[in-house]
C-alpha cells in the first residue's frame, strides 16, 4: 500500500536546536497517531507536511507532491491547530463559509458545506452565534469543522483534546473516529497522551527528541505485549517459585501475578505450577498491555498520564 504522506530523512534545525533529525516514515489511509513528549517534533513534522515550514534536509511528500513546493496540494489537506485560531466576533457559519471559499469553493457551495459540516460537528443549532461566546469544547469542534469544511482527503489534528474535560475529550475522540469511519477522511492525530492515541488510532508513530522511536500498527504493539494475569487465594510465594522454576517471567501486579507471553505453553506451565504449589486459583485471564506500558519510562508521567 502506498503511503498518502511520507517523510524521508526529514530534518529540521532551528540554529542549534534539532527539532527533527532525519526521520523517515509513511502515513497510510486510516487514523495515524503521532506520539511524543512536548518538543519531540510532532508539530514540526505536521507543519512541514502542511507547507508551513521548509525542512532543513530530506523530503516531505504529500499525495505525491513535495509539501514545501506545491500550493495546490493543500486543497486536499485540513489542519486543526493546537492553539487558538478562531476569530471571536464572527459566527461559526460565517467563518466556515469564508474558510471554504479560501479553499477554492464557490460562495454558494461554501455556505452549504459550512452548514453541513457544522451539523456533523454537532454545532448546527449554534452556528449563528459569535464564536467568542462558545465553550472550549465547542471551539474545538469549530476548529475541527474548519479543517473539514472543504472536504479534504486528509486532516492533521494537533492535540485535538487539549484543554477539554473528560466528557469533552471523549466526545472529541468519538468525532475523530467518526471523521474517518463515516466520512472516509484519513487523519494524522498528534498527541502526547498515550490513552487518546491508543483508543483512536490504527497506527502510531512515536517521536522522541526529534528521532523516530517506533512506527507501526497499534495492534502489533499491543499483541507483542500480551500476558496472562493470575490471582490465587493463598500459596502465593510457592506459586512464584514453581513458575520461575519452569522459566516463566513473573511480576507482582495489583495483588496478582502478571506472566509474560500468552502462547499455549505458558498456560501448560501455569497449570503445572498451580498443581505443584497447591495454590487455589481465583482468576486467570489473558491480558493485553496498554501502549503506555510499552513506551513508559521510569518517572515519565507526561506521555501516559493524560487519562488519569
Amino acid at each position: 500500500m502506498e503511503p498518502l504522506v511520507s517523510a524521508t530523512n526529514l530534518a529540521k534545525h532551528y540554529k542549534d536546536v534539532v527539532a527533527l533529525n532525519g526521520v523517515s516514515f509513511g502515513i497510510f489511509d486510516g487514523i495515524t497517531g503521532i506520539l511524543g513528549e512536548n518538543g519531540a517534533g510532532k508539530s514540526t513534522a505536521i507543519k512541514i507536511f502542511l507547507g508551513l515550514l521548509k525542512p532543513t534536509s530530506g523530503s516531505a511528500i504529500v499525495f505525491g507532491e513535495n509539501a514545501s513546493e506545491s500550493i495546490s496540494v493543500r486543497a486536499k489537506l485540513g489542519y486543526m491547530p493546537e492553539h487558538d485560531c478562531l476569530p471571536s466576533s464572527v459566527s461559526a457559519a460565517e467563518f466556515l463559509t469564508h474558510m471554504a471559499e479560501v479553499s477554492g469553493l464557490p460562495p454558494s457551495r461554501a455556505r452549504t458545506r459550512a452548514a453541513d459540516t457544522l451539523r456533523h460537528a454537532g454545532l448546527f443549532e449554534e452556528r449563528y452565534r459569535a464564536i467568542g461566546g462558545y465553550s472550549t469544547g465547542m471551539k474545538q469542534r469549530v476548529k475541527l469543522a474548519q479543517a473539514l469544511v472543504h472536504d479534504p482527503q486528509m486532516i492533521f489534528l494537533d492535540e485535538p483534546t487539549a484543554g477539554l474535560d473528560p466528557a469533552g475529550r471523549e466526545d472529541m475522540l468519538d468525532l475523530v473516529r467518526k471523521t474517518h469511519r463515516e466520512f472516509g477522511i484519513s487523519i494524522l492525530f498528534s498527541s502526547h497522551l498515550m490513552a487518546d492515541v491508543e483508543r483512536t488510532c490504527d497506527r502510531i508513530i512515536v517521536l522522541q527528541g526529534g528521532e523516530l522511536v517506533q512506527a507501526g500498527e497499534v495492534s502489533h504493539f499491543t499483541s507483542e505485549t500480551e500476558s496472562v494475569f493470575l490471582e490465587v487465594d493463598s500459596n502465593h510465594e510457592q506459586l512464584i517459585a514453581e513458575l520461575e522454576q519452569r522459566g516463566i517471567v513473573v511480576q507482582a501486579d495489583r495483588g496478582g501475578l502478571n506472566i509474560e507471553g500468552a502462547e499455549a505453553s505458558v498456560y501448560d506451565h501455569v497449570r503445572d505450577a498451580l498443581v505443584a504449589s497447591g495454590a487455589p486459583l481465583r482468576r486467570m485471564a489473558p491480558q493485553r498491555r496498554a501502549l503506555a506500558e510499552l513506551f513508559a519510562r521510569e518517572g515519565d508521567e507526561d506521555m501516559s498520564g493524560g487519562s488519569r
Partner: protein, 310 residues
Amino acid sequence: MSESTTGASGPVTGAAGTVFDIGYQSYEGPRHGRARGRMAVFKDGVRIALGLGRGSRAKVLPWGFIALLVGIGFIMALVVGAVMRLGGPDAAASLPTHSDFYGISSIFFFVFAAVVAPELLCPDRRDGVVNLYLVRPLTGSDYIIARWFAFLAVSLGAAWLPQFVLMIGMVMGNPDPAEYLLTHWTDVPKILAAGAAIAAYTTTLAMLVAGFTNRRAYAAVFLVGLFVITTPFTTGLASEIGGTAGQWISMFNVTNIPVHVNDLIFGEVSDITSGAPAGELPGWLLTVWYLAWVIVPGTILWSRYRRLTP
C-alpha cells in the same frame, strides 16, 4: 475521496412529515484554487473594514469616518453651489474645490486608515487565524496583497465619494450644468488619480504598522501620533532652519506627502501645502519621494508576510 455514507440512514416519520439523514456527503463540485482564495480574503477584508456581518460597534468607526468625509464634500458642495447660484460662476472661483478637498480632509483620511486598517491584520495574527489561511492553497504574499487591495478599495471609495458629491453640487449649482461639465470634465481623471494617490499612501503606511503588532490599539495610536505629531514638528523646524535644509525637513511632513502629489495632479497648490517649503522643490522630486513612501513600506510589509510560507 470517500464514498458517501448513510450513517444513521432511514426515514424518521412523524405527523409533520419525513426527515432523512443522508449522512456525510463528499464535495464533488468545482474547486477554483488560489484565485478564489485571494478573492475570498479580499472580500473578507472589505467586510471587516466596513464592519459588515459584524456587530453595530464594528460599523461605527468606518461609517462614521466615511460620513464625515462625505459631509465635508457635501458642505463644500452646498457652499460652492449656493455662491454659484447667487453670485454666478465667477463668484465661486476663489472658493475651495476639488484640488483643495484632499488637503482639507487629509487628516481625517489618516485617522480613518489608522483606526480601521489594523482591523484587517491584527486580529488574524493575534487569534492565530492567519495559520488557517496559510495551510490552504494560499501563500503569505497572496494573503497580504489581498488584504492590501481590500483596504485600498475601501479607501478609494472614501476618497472618491466626497469628491463626486462635490462635483454633483458644483454641476447642479452652475446655471449651465452641461457647459460646466464640458469645461470641467478633466476634473474626473484628476479626482480619480489624486484619490488613488492618497488612498495608496494611507493604506500602505497603515497596513505596514498593523503588520508589526498584534494590538489594534497600538497600531492606531502609533499611526495617529505619526500623522498628527510630524506636522507641527516638521513645520516648526523647517521654518526655523529655512533654506534647502528647511525644504528637506518639510518633506518629512507625512501628512503633506500625498497632498503635494495632489497639487501636481490638479496643477494648483492646496491651502494646506501653500506654506510648506517642500512645495518649492521640483515636481519630479516630490513624486519620487511619494513613490518611495508607498513602495518601500509596501515592500517591507510584503516581505514580512511572504516569509510566513516557505
